[in-house]
């Protein structure tokens, strides 16, 4: 399914290898926009986990690893090769010898050590510290109990040895925008917030706070012949309607679509051929709190899954901008089980299960929900009559999104509706169902299953990716059967792009995050953009 999706996306785009061979063109300005926030919090991207800061990161910075959207996995970025010890914990990186920072400093092992220490510095309280924690000795450093991170060892300027806490794939944590590498020769670290310096294909030029960030081509970028573009204006536009007008007016080159726009664009001749779709790694769900008596019984949770007609809601409300969920791990996960069917819509079975569990007369519960149109109050309102038919009364409890996070992590809910990260790393995604994961971390439904734990722990130790995927697939199926949540859907992200744009990729981790150095603009672009 995933292969088909990716292929379809690439064909519909006319991008990737085939189109690139057809003749890339250098020059031009990309006006990039996305619907996240309305301003950049800071240009010090190590300090910010927000999606909008990822757009700057992609242009200006590079991390040790990066995400390859075509292969759907993390790949080495700043190292040309790596050697891994037999137990999988020690990685020796041979760094690129042609990578240069925008301030002229060549990349060395010192820059990586400096950057990881800065991210993990307890005084900074940076969000990337949890990713650095996979390195041996980082926990002690983060806690302020050590002066150095013992797992980081410089062999020479271009060779770095990193010892990890276990046989993990370090690509996932160390490809994050909060773990990018900064130059170690900048005296005033606070300058990163206003004048960022990185290893990326574009140099920071200007930031108009609340409006846009402008970057320009870096002539000494290590990938030969890249980037193609001269300039990128990265603009944030939170309003769907305003973005729609600007896109149709050809003022912006790409636009992320909501459900309503997706439906409208599909019906328009001039727009429908330039849509890029991908199954993103998010699972929308309603989490049940087992502290609420009826949810203690697995049959009740299963009954709810049977009582709701998820495909109908996806079709009518979400305008088909989603894929029905058959478990926690999404379509694009390497451990996705294509043979596992979603819960069938079967109210009679739901009633029978409820009766068996002693709730033949039903019960009432409250769903804490944000206003989000795809995974908030409108969805709770849609399930209301469906659950009523099997005797369950649902009451939406509307809250703002930051209050939702607060309520869920403090276990202050009967049920909640949310969209949660469920990839790309299946080991990390399923950590949220491991009984040793704190409720406030991401085990929001306080899930605990000895069978699941056994499989998960085995997967943690497994070094063969195929065997590990198989163990995680089985673990995921246990979660599906236990139904600690109502499995709703996996997000289908949709991007509309102008016909003169080439090189976009179906990035399953976040479609709006694109490799700018691959993008090029052809001759049909308006003059102002060429």
């Amino acid at each position: 399914m995933l292969k088909r999706l990716t292929l379809a996306a690439m064909l519909s785009l006319g991008v990737a290898t085939g189109a690139l061979a057809a003749g890339e063109r250098h020059g031009g300005t990309l006006v990039f926009t996305a619907p996240y926030g309305s301003s950049f919090a800071t240009l010090d991207v190590q300090a910010s986990p927000n999606t909008q800061e990822e757009f700057i990161t992609q242009a200006i910075h590079r991390a040790l690893y990066s995400w390859d959207s075509i292969q759907n996995k993390p790949v080495l970025e700043l190292a040309s090769s790596e050697e891994v010890s037999d137990d999988g914990t020690v990685h020796t990186y041979h760094l690129r010898d042609n990578a240069v920072f925008h301030n002229g400093k060549p990349l060395t092992a010192d820059d990586i050590i400096y950057s990881y220490k800065r991210i993990a510095n307890p005084k900074n309280a940076f969000p990337g510290a949890s990713y650095i924690a996979v390195i041996k000795g980082a926990e002690e450093f983060i806690a302020g109990k050590a002066q150095e991170i013992s797992g980081l060892k410089k062999i020479d300027d271009h060779t770095l040895e990193i010892t990890y806490t276990g046989p993990i794939n370090p690509g996932f944590p160390l490809m994050q925008n909060t773990t990018v590498i900064y130059p170690s020769n900048v005296e005033d670290e606070s300058s990163f917030a206003k004048t960022p310096v990185g290893l990326g294909a574009f140099v920071f030029r200007e930031h108009v706070p609340g409006s846009q960030v402008v970057v320009e081509k870096f002539d000494k970028y290590y990938e030969e012949g890249k980037p193609y573009l001269d300039r990128i204006n990265i603009v944030l536009m939170a309003e769907d309607a305003a973005r729609d007008v600007a896109f149709r007016n050809k003022e912006i080159d790409v636009s992320i679509l909501g459900p309503t726009q997706y439906q409208a664009y599909q019906g328009e001749e001039a727009l429908k051929d330039h849509l890029l779709e991908v199954a993103e790694v998010y699972t929308r769900n309603i989490g049940f709190n087992p502290a609420f008596e009826p949810f203690k019984d697995k049959r009740v949770r299963q009954a709810i899954n049977h009582a709701i007609n998820a495909p109908l809601i996806i079709e009518r409300l979400v305008k088909n901008k989603a894929y029905p969920a058959s478990g926690w791990l999404p379509l694009s996960s390497p451990a996705f089980d294509k043979d596992k069917a979603p819960y069938a819509f079967d109210p009679d079975k739901a009633k029978a299960l409820l009766a068996e569990a002693g709730y033949a007369d039903g019960f009432e519960f409250e769903v804490t929900a944000s206003p989000n149109e795809s995974w908030g109050v409108p969805i709770v309102e849609a399930i209301l009559p469906m659950l009523k038919k099997v005797g369950i009364t649902v009451k939406p409890k509307p809250v703002e999104s930051s209050a939702l996070g607060d309520a869920v992590t403090s276990n202050n809910f009967q049920a909640f509706i949310w969209s949660n990260l469920s990839g790309p790393d299946p080991l990390n995604a399923l950590r949220c169902y491991y009984s040793k994961t704190a409720q406030s971390a991401c085990n929001y439904a306080s899930y605990s299953s000895p069978d699941f734990d056994k499989l998960y722990e085995a997967a943690q130790q497994e070094r063969d990716p195929a065997k590990q995927s198989d163990l995680l697939r089985q673990a995921n199926n246990i979660v599906q059967d236990d139904a600690p949540v109502w499995f709703f859907n996996y997000n289908k992200a949709v991007m509309a792009y102008q016909p003169w744009i080439h090189g976009l990729v179906p990035n399953a981790t976040e479609l709006a995050v694109q490799p700018y150095d691959e993008i090029w603009i052809d001759d049909t672009a308006p003059d102002a953009r060429k």
Partner: protein, 311 residues
Amino acid sequence: MLRFTLRRILQVVPTIVVVALLIFVIFSVVPGTFAASLFADGKRAADPQMIARLNEEFGLNKPLMERFVTYVTDLARFDLGTSFRTRQPVIDLINDRMGASLQLAVAAMVFAIVVGVPLGFLAALRPGSILDTVTMIGAVSGLSMPQFWLGLLMMYLFALQLNWLPSFGYGDGSLRNLILPAVTLGVTPLALLARTTRAGVLDVLNADFIRTAHSKGMSEAKVVRWHVARNALVLIVTTIGLQFGSLIGQAVVIEKLFAWPGIGSLLVDSVAIRDIPVVQGTILVIVLWFLIINTAVDLVYAAIDPRIKQE
């Protein structure tokens, strides 16, 4: 006049103190925290250690009273605090955005005055005429139209259909980018000004001294210039002042819609992610702005009509 001016300025201080207190109390009781907002979109798992580190760094784990004392002490030193999100001084963030907001508010007000006042005047001089009827229908529509919808309409018409103007953004700060948001923001004060001017002028036109001036054989133009305009001015200036004062607050919606980089969009963003120091600072600046304009209007008012300061 000096005493009056001083008294008005001193009245600003208690108002600011009360507003500051209110903001602190409100944002202490609303649910949601900055740390929780970092993963509110579900794009990453919550990290309890990070939440604890952030809460400690921002002093959010301290008792409410202690936080309140810190807040007031800082405020007394004109320190608006540090943003949770950007870790920069709040005053710097506001400074970065204030220029764009002022630009938008001034442009909107100029548009409202240049169009609204003459329209109101002309309508009042020819009551019942087609111009009067059209102006008043237009004014009522302008007042009742939601700004958000009007903005979209403007974008659709002038950007998408006619292709005259850019539909969004600050661009390079050129006038072309300013026109659509300024006109959208200016429509409400324009409508109000047209109505107020018309009412004010009609009031003056019906006054005894105008009849006297006419009976003495004074020309229509002279009557309007010397008597009507001057007397209607008090009401018009007040309306302009009050509208200008509230414009920065009203700009919140317009700035969001047109991706305009003012303090309105800064405020909305900061509320959503619970960046409390920025919310407090921005609201205080907006309130202060309103009070300053209000005071200035009172002073101008007193200068135009000396009876005011006696009251």
